[in-house]
């Protein structure tokens, strides 16, 4: 098992390195250059030339890439090109906000999805199954910004129950923070629920047809016990991978939600940085997103391996 885990770890590191090349190459492909997009219609040939020199844009891309990777390996994310701030200090509060919202949404979405998944499996074909299925499918079928605006329209504008701006400050306390981020949280939960719910339901149902479940039924165990003690552990692998995918999405895929609710997260920072061609910030955000995604998938793999007796006992 350790060997399998080791292999996965090496693969993850290699993927991360490949991601770093892609991220750097991607930022190189952006049309126009930083100097031009900083100066906009204040640009003159002299100011452009001076700014390009200041920003070291005269060096070849490979030299800049190697320099970047070397610094990255030492944990130095570089300095922002637009405001000369340390990228790490600029990113830290934004990353904390992103992780807060992702955790908030995950803490609601994952138990809800698992619970509803089990209930719908238990009451397959009954009204609660249909409502949960249709409802979650509808929620996932709408584009996120539409859901977001719909929630704002109903809950914030018409009823005045919840704030439409999630403008948290670093010193906002937990209570107000939970309320300010309630609408973005609900949007994210609605966007991720269906995927996890349906996977739980399908996985549990497919296990339910297996002989050992029939055995359990014949033994006379109550159904909730069959599902929670026998079916769920065996159905865990696909469920965990889907949860990992969705957790990854909660970290990296929330740009639209952040924009609509004016939430100061990492996605907004990255979009801002792309607009200003602030390459170090874009690269740092890209690397954080890549690390989050790869890390969560690695974690899912590990849980799957540990949960599966056959993989666990494999010695080669």
């Amino acid at each position: 098992m350790l060997i399998i885990l080791g292999k996965k770890l090496v693969a993850a590191v290699l993927t991360l390195m490949a991601a770093s090349v892609l991220i750097f190459a991607g930022t190189e492909l952006l049309p126009g250059d930083l100097a031009g997009s900083i100066l906009q219609n204040n640009a003159t040939p002299e100011t452009l030339a001076q700014l390009r020199l200041d920003l070291k844009l005269d060096q070849p891309a490979t030299v800049r890439f190697m320099g970047w990777v070397e610094k990255l390996a030492h944990g130095d994310l570089g300095r922002s090109l637009t405001n000369d701030q340390d990228v790490a200090t600029e990113i830290a509060p934004r990353l904390a906000n992103t992780i807060f919202l992702a955790t908030y949404a995950a803490l609601v979405a994952v138990p809800l999805a698992l619970g509803l998944g089990l209930i719908t499996a238990l009451y397959q074909g009954r009204w609660i199954d249909r409502i949960a299925n249709v409802g979650s499918l509808m929620a996932i079928s709408f584009p996120e910004y539409f859901l977001a605006y719909l929630l704002i329209k109903i809950l914030a504008v018409d009823l005045g129950l919840l704030p439409s701006l999630a403008n948290v400050a670093p010193d906002t306390e937990l209570g107000p923070r939970l309320i300010l981020t309630l609408l973005p949280m609900i949007t994210l939960v609605l966007g991720t629920l269906a995927h996890m719910l349906r996977m739980t339901r399908t996985a549990v149902l497919s296990i339910m047809e297996r002989p050992f479940i029939e055995m359990a039924i014949l033994k006379g165990l109550p159904q909730w016990q069959i599902i929670s003690r026998h079916a769920l552990p065996n159905a865990l692998a696909p469920i965990v991978s889907v949860i990992a995918l969705n957790l990854g999405y909660l970290v990296v895929g929330v740009v639209v939600v952040e924009t609509v609710f004016v939430y100061p997260g990492l996605g907004q920072l990255m979009v801002d940085a792309v607009g200003k061609h602030d390459v170090p910030v874009v690269q740092a955000c890209g690397m954080i997103f890549a690390t989050a995604f790869i890390g969560l998938n690695l974690l899912a793999d590990m849980i799957t391996i540990i949960a599966n007796p056959r993989l666990r006992r494999q010695t080669q």
Binding site: L30, P31, G32, D33, A35, G36, S37, I38, L39, Q40, N41, N42, A43, T44, T47, L51, S80, T82, N83, E90, P93, Y149, I152, K153, A156, V157, G160, P163, S164, L165, N167, A169, P170, T259, V260, F261, V262, P264, Q268, L269, D272, A273, G275, K276, H277, D278, V281
Partner: protein, 522 residues
């Protein structure tokens, strides 16, 4: 207009013509959409205003040399003062300079500074501070005001509270230059922009660039008729729907840049009003006069008659603006040439100009981009459609927003972009149309125009300057390669309890002065 001014020594402006011009502006259009409120009549002290603003980025700084957009501009006016204020009709008004006058010939200007103003650190404002502050924008600097300050040859202290500025070339409207939002007064030697020190109504409490800013008032403001608020919270909201819903749901008291399409919705709300500011912002389709086919004057005329200005104003800006006449001076400007006949959509006339030019089959490549401004692509598409009836064959090329300002603007032969308004008419005409000017988008080169421009720059008497500025508008409208279909109004939306948000002929949120002008009613 209630600023103290010292009597008759001013050659360039006086209170009477100033009031007359201001009155004209207010009478010319509907400044407020929605029902007005009692609280707008009597200012009230106290309260913290919550603003939702577009125009902020993580790259923002409080250093005045770096200002480019609405949020830093509003912050700058909350923290600092300038020597000269740009009045609602773009007339220069005294601010930290209590009075100013030109020596004959307009090559030397004397500014008498106020004696009784202190910075937020207690230091008294004086000539050395003014010189230091202005020099931040001269010579080797990345200041956005470097171009307008190029004409300054020297700044000398001519008294404890007096400075004399000598210019390389005459400029009768030089005080308008000093209204530039970059030219803020800071204490001599100040350079720590995380702790800005100014003479403005508020000080910064928290600044999180691109996200939020919190300001508070710590003392009585030196202007008795402004500075009512105790504090302000600015939230940067780039998305226009998010801005609007935050305003309607009551989380925000006032927003800038209301989407024209939603103005009628907002006006229906019993609690909200829209302040409408006719101003100088305009899109421009710049055709280079030295490249074929635009080097043919008849072809340029055909282009001018082949665009449906009314349709563009109605479709893209919900009619909230005015039709342009292919010169950069807006109808809201006191210097606007009213006698110049308006160019209208006339397909037959365009066709005859095309035939006269012998270019009936000519295809035109029009480059446009969302990076230029919101709606630039739609504008080109509407132009193309109206051109079909006029026999114009316009091919619209949509350029990527990224790199538009580097790769397309100033490079293409026919490009859609925009101009922000300028505080003085002469400045606007010079920056975009003087022969050889770096931003002369249409490569307009006309000795007659340059001659009139120089005459206007040296003419201190506004009565005599006016006809010269009108002549220049006529020259540009007839001869230059600029198609200027419309002028767009700035639209601010606010709750009825907010007072003091008044129309301004230059920029949104009272030309950035919302923090000193606004108040909160009960």
């Amino acid at each position: 207009m209630t600023n103290e001014m010292t009597g008759g020594s001013l050659e360039s402006i006086n209170r009477r013509n100033l009031l007359a011009l201001g009155g004209g502006l207010l009478a010319s259009g509907l400044p407020v959409i929605g029902s007005a409120n009692a609280s707008e009549i009597t200012p009230r002290k106290g309260g913290t205003i919550r603003l939702g603003m577009a125009g902020g980025a993580t790259s923002d700084s409080l250093n005045p040399v770096s200002y480019t957009d609405s949020v830093p501009i509003a912050l700058g006016h909350g923290l600092f003062n300038a020597l000269v204020e740009c009045g609602p009709d773009n007339t220069p008004l005294p601010e930290l300079a209590a009075s100013f006058e030109a020596r004959p010939g307009a090559r030397e200007w004397v500014f008498n500074l106020r004696k009784d103003v202190t910075f937020s650190n207690g230091k008294t404002f004086g000539a050395n501070d003014a010189i230091y502050s202005l020099n931040m924008h001269r010579g080797e600097t990345r200041s956005g005001a470097a171009t307008v300050m190029k004409n300054v040859a020297d700044i000398k202290k001519s008294g404890d509270q007096q400075i004399t500025i000598s210019l390389r070339a005459a400029d009768a409207e030089f005080p308008a230059v000093l209204t530039d939002y970059h030219l803020m007064m800071v204490p001599e030697g100040h350079s720590d922009w995380s702790k800005p020190i100014g003479t403005g109504p508020m000080v910064i409490d928290r600044f999180d660039p691109g996200v939020r800013a919190v300001l508070k008032r710590t003392r009585d403001y030196w202007k008795a008729d402004r500075g009512f608020l105790d504090g302000a919270e600015i939230t940067v909201i780039g998305d226009s729907s998010a801005r609007l819903s935050a305003l309607i749901s009551g989380q925000i008291d006032a927003i800038n840049r209301v989407d024209p399409k939603t103005v009628s919705l907002l006006a229906r709300s019993p609690n909200h009003v829209v302040a409408r500011s006719p101003a100088g912002w305009h899109p421009i389709i710049a055709m280079t006069c030295d490249r074929a086919p635009f080097d043919n004057p008849d072809f340029r005329q055909a282009m001018k008659y082949g665009i449906d200005r009314q349709q563009i104003l109605k479709t893209l800006f919900s009619g909230l603006g005015s039709v342009g006449n292919d010169h950069p001076i807006a109808p809201s400007s006191p210097f606007f040439n009213k006698d110049l006949p308006q160019i209208a959509y006339d397909p037959d006339r365009a066709k005859s100009f095309l035939a006269k030019a012998g270019l009936s089959d000519m295809h035109v490549l029009m480059q446009t981009s969302d990076g230029a401004f919101n709606g630039a692509v739609d504008l080109a598409t509407l132009y193309q459609a109206s051109g079909v009836k006029a026999g114009l064959k316009i091919d619209v090329k949509r350029e990527p927003a990224d790199g538009f300002w580097t790769n397309v603007w100033l490079k293409g032969s026919c490009v859609v972009s925009y101009w922000g308004g300028r505080p003085s008419a002469t400045q606007m005409l010079a920056v975009g149309y003087e022969s050889g000017a770096p931003w002369n988008l249409s490569h307009y080169n006309d000795p007659r125009f340059d001659q009139v421009l120089n005459a206007a720059r040296g003419e201190i008497d506004p009565e005599k300057r006016q006809p010269l500025i009108r002549d220049m508008q006529e020259l540009i409208s007839h001869n230059a390669g600029a198609v200027i279909p419309i002028f767009r109004d700035y639209l601010d939306g606010h709750h009825r309890k907010v007072g003091g948000i008044t129309p301004h002929g230059l920029y949104d949120f009272c030309n950035g002065r919302i923090l000193e002008k606004a108040w909160l009613g009960a």
